[in-house]
Amino acid sequence: MPQTDLSAYLPIALMFVLVVGFSVVSLFLARLVAPRHPTPEKVEPYECGIVPLQEPVQRFPVKFYLVAMLYVIFDIEIVFLFAWAASFDDLGWYGLAAVGLFTFLLIETLVYVWRRGALDWNLPRRRRYQRAGAAAGDAERTAA
């Protein structure tokens, strides 16, 4: 491996030093010169001047997780399209057919997810699907 010329990284190193230095200095200076008269209202977390009604950390509804999970899986599958696009000329019709099949499988999955109601915010369709399974679960809970 050739000897890398590290001097090219000098501006980045300087930038790094400046950034860290600036933030440390301003934090320190603020603590040094700013007047401090804490009152109970002032130490509350700031929320448009209104007294906070509840703790800021809450549990999110599960449907957000569902959408996030669906997003992750579809998002990452696209990575194969980059590889195909980068060598489009070499792969030709064969590559196009292969990617077509791949895309069909992705869309088929999307159709399934959609028809199952996983994308519905208000859940009427999802409920319909879940009813049978939930009923089975209820029966089991009563039996146990």
């Binding site: 000897q3 890398t4 996030a68 999970m69 990452i76 990575v79």
Partner: protein, 101 residues
């Protein structure tokens, strides 16, 4: 000092150990799961570094597939963890001790 591929392999080994110890020592299912992801990325880094050192593209190609598989694993894993979390309001594996013997 030149940074050779060997250093990246060493970093990958460190990452792998960090991930493995995280999985074995932490008790929160989400954190344990993140440790697994660190281990997978340690393997990815090894693939790329070794491929670069040997001058072959196989390493980078492998990483593509590993990334996609890891994403699939994330989705299945999160779904399972959310299911557990909804029922018990805890993600600590110490509270999951119904099955033993």
């Amino acid at each position: 000092m030149t940074v050779t591929a060997g250093w990246y392999l060493a970093l990958a080994a460190v990452l792998f150990v960090v991930g493995a110890s995280g999985l074995l020592l932490r008790r929160n299912a989400l954190v344990m799961f993140m440790s697994v992801e660190i281990m997978l990325n340690a393997a990815n880094l090894s693939f790329v570094a070794a491929g670069r050192q040997l001058g072959v593209l196989d390493g980078q190609a492998a990483v593509f597939f590993v990334m996609v598989v890891a994403a699939a694993e994330v989705v299945v894993g999160l779904a399972i963890i959310v299911t557990v979390f909804r029922r018990r309001a805890t993600a600590s594996v110490d509270d999951l001790a119904g099955l033993k013997g």
